[in-house]
Symmetry: C2
Subunit: 756 residues, 2 copies
């Protein structure tokens, strides 16, 4: 908690550089965008979970102000979206969920577009709903897609290390339980948005809130059947994403098609209800976990079996087991591990990426189950964990190479902060959970890298150009701090450009907590290259050897001289520029971390170049009359490698913990026969400021050798162990285990009544 | 006129890459810009040419919807603008012209802003108008500015080479005449625009139609008293500039101050009338020229004396003699030359840069005077010119180093095209004029350079990032063609980014016909660096030596192999990117031409790295009843070095000739006591399409050794000799010389009556 004096800027508390423009309304979000001649696009979605349909758009087309109405017939050669390319932007003849897109209109204003949507006539021929994964897996269940006659995705996961079945059988103590994780919504402040504009037959500009601009460029080229070289993605200021914008979705393709059809720019902007119904969710799961241990609490076996409701189509939710494998294989030392997962098509919503991906689900199941094991084994749950801590230098069953590891330090710091030894009052409980997550990128593509250009102009303005994406996580501020640290210029002199595939260099997108680590490394190295150029120029100007130049706080002066007689960055920059063959101090660095693509079958490989650890601990009090859980204190101790922006990392953790508490106690998308019953922020309960408990954040600085200044990525960590820690604390308070999230007062009361 | 087969793209006719977006309304000009919360700014201008005033803004401030009213008192520390820093953005206590800014308002809409302007109460105490340069120069004339008690700018020009007075005296033939050049307006399609937005106390973004983004950044910093490092200039799509946006003006500062005062974005957008009254003009001049020659027509002396009406303040108009010195010293071979110029403060409008700067004025005077000399000497005017042609390899009296020179070829081609030997009918005349102009940049700043980055993404999209400015002259297209030529990718794959000081590298701005030459050279060299990278990557992929790689039309293949088996640019780019330490093919090149800053006193120095020549010839028919001049045929033969975009260069010349014809025959800003009487396009006569004569364009390709593919800059050339050629043709038709532009029917009739 002490500020780091080694650096001038790094580790300090710095308000976000984009805070002011966001707070004052100056920032231009997608929903603020108005292009000349822009039309409003709207999508007609299915009114059934599962049905065949026919459609008649003739009345809609005749409404004055309607410029285009399109269906699957309009552009038959457009290709499918989705991880398994099973998702046409516009569905043809059959719908498999309430979110299914069956037609779209572009009109001169939203009201007319809405009228046109209402004037489209659809006749449905109902098919039996398949909204339950057990029903979907039955023999002779109605089939959603021809390519999956058993409703199960071809793509399956089976990870194994050692002989877990044998180890479990031979374990001194063992326990098996099933945990159920619900649908939750990202609830980004800004709902989905896209705008598209064509310049001629196949040059396309898309204004987007995507997290993956460069991959979106590729996706759009493939799906629309035009060269990706003709496509430019301009990101708007993004009002939160949390993984929800990690894929390319039907509404984005539809926006492009409407713009194509009309020859005018078209936007599609969801309202909150459409956001709930038609954006992706966190992947729900039913997870059965078994653990076995020796008499002294050494873990010997872990078997993890997940069944995922894949919904009607496959977005990234279908790949969450890939990330589940990380904690399953590597959270604590367990020699014998198996993870199996299958994904089932249903007529429900489909899931995407959401902060932590499959890790919050897996960690909830594993850490809940460990407490259950501790109870069976008669070992203090904290002690059980201590006996199985991960350690620096280990290689895990998934072949993750652990460099630095602050699990022990995090746990002990949390133990102290939560005052573990303090006796519990009646209905009071205390719980812990640990986590591991990628902290140094996650290679899921040929490149996990990022290119950064740093330029210093004649006035000492430093511009950082990157392909990275600021979704509110504070990347811009972290990069500005790195440049400020390296080049000794104030933050006000620094400009970050990062929202355009044309000027931005390749970046794999915002995911896997990678940005500060990857882009930070690229920025740091590019800044250092620029610094070398400046030192050389200063040496030339001062007529000394570069090795004799001292550079401190933005001033260059000769060794043994005084900073007062020195030259500032702008002056040195001008001396480089205003001479024969002059140029701005400028450098580009591509940082691609030393991590590996995992084998798709074995799931093994060192996917990240470092790993983040953390411990959440909380003390709760349960009201036995109402079943309400009150968190008395919440402690989050995280191995962050090194703090870059103290205020930023606090914000990340506060936000993560809030989402974790919501996941644990409140948030739940309630579906009935595939229909979402609470698509609004009144009925869908988010954690609000007033719900937040007293929090203590602890940063363990393990100084990662690969991280920028030693930092690890920490964007997702904040919510990964939260729900498990709360569930364990509730169990500690009421003596009963709740295995289904969210832990609502109703479930708590039922549990209390069942036990006491 | 033949297409060049040496290249695939260079020299071809290519429609502008931005034509479609401009034609369809997709382009976002300044006037289209709407920022969230943006206010409308308006300026109150003087209702007198010369007066002291007091001001009361209290009523205006009380109007609902008015957010700010500012005067010179509001920000007293703001510094002056202008070449001589004699121009406060808001005038204090005294006005010196009708355009003088005395207050400004920001309001929620234009109507309210207008109401507020009308509610500002100004009391004027009239001072004697000084609207005539002779009156201004009289002893005891009323003084405009304390710093110039004789109303004459300190800054004067006196260029001399040889002994021109003696040479004139000794000449066999000599002639002296005085020529008067009028005020003309740029008449950009888009009137002036600026918008400003502050982020906190001193971070400023300006949306601008400036031609000099990087120098504007510097200007704004100096004038507003904030670090230029805190300023970002974003250029909008610009609807014409022609030099009018080469300076930073009061309305731009006022926009920033209103935005500062209100804390909201503010825009100021001129309407056509304000554009006429308050934007700069071409510099009017009274020029007395003497020429002397030997019996056989060898020019021996030229004396050129210019008096410039500087108007109330100094913008770039005050520096036009600097450019006049170029033709005065170097158009034809003349050993003994003098140029003197003085600038006089008056209560008239002030001038700025305008296509050709002082060259059209000087060339009109010189080329008219040469015809007069030819008459006196009894030599055919064409023959007189032939005997004094400039030639390759010469060093002119101003120390201009002539590398390539197509003056002879241009003249002879024009002679043929205009069918010089064809006998003239009654009232028909034929005239010629030549020109020299900078064609390889013009160093007026420490750097005359430009930085260009070229990047190739994974899909083969080529992005060219420059600090250059597209004002409609076709730079983007020329750069795209260069990249297409070098990298073998279609134009559709190329994107040009050039409108933002943050991502753009330094560029000295659009002036001096420099962009295709300077930025073209930078683009060409950056492309070639990228090509080297690609060849190396292709060699690696093909496992051969780079020297064995053939690169043709975007395909890399092994020497002796076939293009069909080759790799395209995108594939090679991916092979460079998707490997360890991978990166995009990308390079930055700063091209700064080998030219010199001229000595401010002697005006000598090789200001450009090459020079453009051209000949205009025309055949006219005068209607003796109406005095109307009809151009029967117009020929423009230009030494362009090499044609880059044939269609683009045709467009440049058509536009230049149209402006030249307007200058010669129609355009005239009529002032009465400092007040402009025709501030609209009904009363100010522009040349329209129907007024254009049959034209023949001839491109002489002298293959300049320094130019990109041999090209010279040609943006301004098109209008430089036009008026002189027309005046000479009119003299040829009516036998009388008209020395004052424009050559209106009234003047022609008067001349005819005076002679015949």
């Amino acid at each position: 908690m002490t500020e780091n004096n080694e650096y001038n800027v790094i580790g300090k508390r710095v308000p976000k550089v984009d805070a002011r423009e966001k707070a004052t309304g100056a920032a231009i979000f997608g929903h603020d965008l108005r292009l000349p001649g822009m039309l409003e696009g709207k999508i007609l979605r299915s009114k059934r979970a599962h049905a065949n349909f026919t459609i008649d758009i003739s009345k809609a087309e005749k409404i004055p102000g309607v410029v285009a109405v399109i269906t699957a017939e309009t552009y038959p050669h457009v290709k499918n979206l989705g991880f398994l390319q099973d998702n046409p932007a516009l569905k043809k003849g059959k719908v498999c969920s309430y979110r299914d897109e069956i037609a779209a209109v572009a009109a001169v204003n939203p009201e007319t577009a809405e009228d046109a949507i209402n004037a489209i006539e659809v006749e449905y021929e109902d098919l039996p709903n398949v909204c339950d994964i057990e029903f979907a897996c039955m023999e002779n269940a109605p089939v959603l897609h021809e390519h999956a006659p058993d409703n199960i995705l071809k793509h399956r996961y089976d990870f194994v290390h050692g002989d877990p079945e044998k180890a479990l059988e031979e374990a001194d103590f063992k326990v098996t339980s099933t945990y159920r994780l619900q649908y939750v919504a990202h609830c980004c402040m800004e709902p989905c948005f896209a705008a598209a504009q064509w310049d001629g037959p196949d040059r396309l500009t898309v204004y987007s809130t995507t997290q993956i601009p460069h991959l979106m460029q590729r996706d759009l080229g493939r799906v629309l059947g035009i060269p990706a070289a003709h496509i430019r993605i301009k990101q708007m200021v993004i009002g939160g994403a949390f993984g929800s914008k990690l894929d390319t979705y039907p509404y984005e393709i539809i926006t492009c098609l409407l713009a194509k059809k009309t020859g005018r720019p078209v936007r599609i902007a969801f309202d909150r209800e459409e956001e709930f119904i038609a954006s992706v969710t966190r992947q729900p799961a039913v997870i059965t976990v078994s653990h076995g241990c020796t008499k002294d609490g050494k873990l010997t076996a872990r078997i993890f079996d997940a069944v995922l409701d894949n919904g009607s189509n496959s977005s990234w939710g279908a790949t969450t087991p890939h990330i589940m494998a990380n904690p399953v294989s590597s959270l604590y030392k367990v020699e014998n591990v198996r993870m199996k997962a299958k994904m089932v098509y249903t007529n429900n919503a489909y899931a995407g990426a959401f902060r932590g991906y499959g890790n919050p689900q897996a960690t909830f199941a594993i850490e809940s189950n460990l407490d259950e094991l501790a109870k069976v084994a008669g070992i203090d749950p904290l002690e059980l964990r201590r006996r199985n801590f991960n350690e620096p230098g280990e290689t895990t069953p998934q072949d993750l190479k652990i460099t630095t590891c602050g699990m022990k330090e995090c746990t002990e710091a949390a133990v102290e902060a939560i005052d573990y030894d303090k006796p519990l009052e009646e209905w009071e409980g205390v719980g812990f959970a640990n986590m591991i997550h990628v902290g140094g990128g996650a290679r899921i593509y040929l490149s996990d890298g990022s290119g950064v250009t740093v330029k210093v102009d004649d006035f000492g303005r430093v511009v950082i150009i990157t392909g990275a994406t600021e979704i509110g996580q504070g990347t811009d501020t972290a990069m500005a701090m790195i440049a400020s640290e390296e080049l000794g210029v104030p933050l006000e002199n620094i400009s970050i450009l990062n929202s355009d595939t044309d000027y931005g260099m390749w970046d794999a997108g915002v995911h896997a907590s990678r940005t500060t680590f990857i882009v930070g490394n690229a920025t740091l190295r590019a800044c250092r290259m620029v610094k070398e150029q400046l030192i050389e120029a200063a040496a030339k100007k001062m007529k000394i050897e570069p090795g004799k130049v001292v550079f401190e706080k933005g001033v260059f002066y000769p060794e043994g001289g005084s900073p007062e007689d020195g030259m500032k960055v702008d002056k040195v920059a001008r001396s480089m520029h205003f001479r024969r063959q002059g140029k701005h101090p400028m450098a580009t660095y591509y940082y691609d971390p030393p991590n590996e693509l995992q084998d798709m079958k074995t799931l093994k490989g060192n996917v990240s170049s470092t790993y983040a650890y953390g411990t959440h601990a909380c003390r709760v009090k349960v009201d036995p009359e109402t079943g309400k859980v009150k968190i008395l204190k919440f402690v989050a101790a995280h191995d962050v490698g090194k703090v870059i922006n103290r205020q930023g990392i606090e914000g990340q953790l506060h936000g993560g913990i809030a989402q974790g508490i919501g996941y644990a106690l409140m948030e739940d998308m309630v579906f009935e026969d595939g229909k979402l019953l609470n698509p609004n922020l009144l009925d869908y309960k988010l954690v609000m400021a007033r719900d937040m408990p007293p929090m203590e954040l602890i940063f363990i600085e393990t100084d990662d050798p690969e991280g920028p200044y030693g930092a690890k990525g920490i964007g997702e960590a904040g919510l990964i162990p939260t729900a498990a820690a709360i569930a364990n604390a509730v169990e500690s308070a009421i003596g009963a285990r709740i295995r289904d999230l969210p832990i609502t007062p109703e479930k708590v009361l039922a549990a209390i009544r069942g036990v006491k």
